[in-house]
């Protein structure tokens, strides 16, 4: 039978607030254990939660950015279960009435296909603490240590519709949300630190069937690569089960990155009955139109809007526009280059996506840490545009700029890389090459036109690559033709 994969993602994005969602503790990553857990985070007897205004504003921002309905009234509920990293014995979350409903994001697949993925809801909740099982000095194997610094960090949980049909689609969707939350400045997107992570619901159904199959939920995926691998593994596992006439069990599974497989979590936790009910310590969150208007006015240009502008105003291809807008910093950098250069967006785009991206990748740096500033890159490209150097030479110059931290002009000057555009000089070089290679010359003239490239190469070598390529072509053709 042919199976269709159905995937829904629940993305957890930590909101980039200074303090926690219900307390005044800091949310800084990496603090010493329990240094950022106050009475409220520790669920001391008698303490009460008070909602962080910024967390609400960030959730509303997200809702507006995906064209969702921002609910006028949302309600916090308690999700009751026992776990050492959950100090109150319940998590404050939103259940029946979330702050954001509906909405969608558009993704572009590698083959260029567009897909729209629906977002069912996005709700505010608090993160749990961390249980540390190993690597604790002096701890015997029979104990787990609990660090509650993370407890109470605000999260927005973004629940997609079950509308993705491959691991690649799921990753594209997750990347899109990742881009969006960083554009909005509501999440730092740091996946190593767990600021952005997801659970994947995976099920299969016979192609053409309406009804969804039984799903497995893979918990806590914290890299795009793991999402892809875990889903692919899970799909294969489920196909095997179904094809051999067995059933998929509805359960929670963990992805084991070392083994590259998913495995079932203890089913005891599955028996959980969360007993949700409205949290009596918090009142409904009410949002009015003036508030929504103010947040709307404060929204930055979003990646899709920016990409559209790059296509229509800069004449970039959809692909290039997509790449350049994948991160707000990258798009800003590109725009700064265009601005400095006073135009030539395609030249700028090629340089940013080509040479610069290559160097960043090589050194594992983010665009913000680029060793060549947008202004300096524009300085280099200006010399390409005005024919001072060739594109090929530019590659060498940017490397030198990267290593030495200098302006393009000083490197061009110091190394004498200025292009030779003077016809007599180029002609002299051509003459010398022709004299030095009589047999190739004869073959060429006998019709072996492929040898043209050989002569270009020889002249370039002789001029140290500085001959203006267009002028060289023109003169060489004339001379070789006799």
């Amino acid at each position: 039978m042919e199976w269709q994969t159905v995937i829904g993602l629940e993305i957890h994005a930590q909101l980039a607030t200074r303090s926690k969602i219900f307390s005044g503790s800091a949310t800084t990553y990496g603090a010493p254990p329990n240094a950022q857990a106050n009475l409220v985070d520790l669920a001391y007897p008698g303490v009460l939660p008070v909602l962080n205004a910024e967390a609400v504003r960030m959730a509303v921002k997200f809702g507006l950015a995906i064209n969702a309905r921002v609910m006028r009234r949302s309600v916090f509920a308690r999700k009751n279960y026992f776990y050492p990293d959950l100090p109150k014995g319940y998590q404050i979350s939103q259940y029946e009435l979330p702050i954001v409903c509906g909405g969608a994001v558009d993704i572009v697949l590698e083959d260029g296909t567009d897909r729209r993925i629906g977002v069912t809801r996005a709700h505010l909740e608090e993160d749990a603490g961390k249980s540390l099982h190993e690597g604790l000095a002096g701890l015997s194997g029979a104990l787990t240590g609990v660090d509650l610094n993370r407890a109470g960090t605000p999260l927005i949980e973004i629940v997609s519709e079950p509308q993705m049909h491959s691991a690649k689609e799921a990753v594209a969707y997750m990347k899109k949300i990742h881009t969006l939350v960083r554009y909005l400045g509501i999440c730092d997107g740091n996946m190593q630190e767990g600021s952005f992570r997801c659970d994947a619901n995976v099920s299969l159904r016979p192609r053409g069937a309406e009804k969804l199959g039984t799903r497995a939920e893979i918990k806590n995926l914290n890299s795009f690569r793991f999402v892809e691998k875990a889903i692919n593994y899970e799909v294969a596992r489920q196909i095997e089960l179904l094809e051999s006439g067995r059933q998929v069990t509805q359960e929670t599974r963990l992805y084991d990155a070392d083994r590259g497989e998913t495995r079932s979590m203890r089913s005891k936790e599955e028996a959980n009955d969360y007993r949700y009910f409205p949290d009596p310590d918090l009142l409904p969150v009410e949002i009015d139109q003036p508030y929504i208007d103010a947040v709307t006015a404060d929204l930055p240009e979003l990646p899709d809007q920016k990409a559209q502008r790059f296509i229509s105003q800069h004449g970039l291809s959809a692909y290039d526009a997509g790449v350049l807008t994948a991160g707000a910093e990258l798009a800003d950098y590109y725009e700064a280059v265009v601005h400095e250069l006073g135009g030539h967006p395609k030249v700028a785009a090629n340089a940013v996506m080509g040479e610069l991206a290559g160097l960043l990748n090589r050194d594992g740096l983010e665009i913000a840490a680029s060793r060549v500033s947008a202004r300096r890159l524009a300085g280099l490209l200006r010399r390409v545009v005005d024919n001072t150097i060739s594109g090929k030479i530019a590659k060498d110059v940017i490397e030198a700029m990267w290593e030495q931290g200098q302006e393009a002009d000083s490197i061009i000057q110091a190394r004498g890389l200025r292009q030779i555009t003077d016809e007599s000089a180029i002609e002299a070089a051509i003459d010398a090459v022709m004299i030095a290679n009589p047999s190739q010359l004869a073959d060429y003239r006998a019709g072996k036109e492929k040898l043209f490239g050989f002569f270009v190469g020889q002249v370039m070598k002789a001029t140290g690559g500085k001959a203006n390529p267009a002028r060289l072509n023109e003169l060489l053709k004339k001379k070789l033709g006799g």
Partner: protein, 112 residues
């Protein structure tokens, strides 16, 4: 049946709401309460009585009202400015903790 039953529970008839041992064990598990063998029948009896009393609610016609989650009408939550107001006081807070090491609260090993 009760001192004031004639008034408050006008026609109380024990409604089939009784729980059995198994129910009590399940509830106690959800609530993470260890019960002794002797305690279980006491709770079977007690909860069954409470639920029979609570079953009186069925008498009310509630088709026209919304559930009331909060005693004051028209209140909405007040928001707190996003300001860090806390300093590290884990040593003070951990004075009450049964078992702590390296500033971590310790529990028997959690298996995932």
């Amino acid at each position: 049946m009760y001192d004031f039953a004639p008034f408050f529970l006008p026609e109380i008839e024990p409604i089939a709401m009784s729980l059995n041992h198994r129910d009590i064990e399940n509830i106690a598990y959800l609530a993470r309460l260890a019960l002794t063998v002797e305690e279980i029948p006491v709770y079977v009896e007690g909860l069954s009585r409470i639920l029979a009393m609570v079953a009186e609610l069925e008498r009310a016609d509630t088709s026209q009202v919304e559930p009331m989650a909060h005693p004051l009408p028209g209140q909405r939550t007040r928001l707190r400015a996003d300001v860090v107001t806390e300093t590290d006081r884990h040593q003070l807070f951990q004075r009450n903790a049964p078992q702590v090491e390296a500033a971590l609260y310790l529990v028997p090993r959690v298996i995932e």
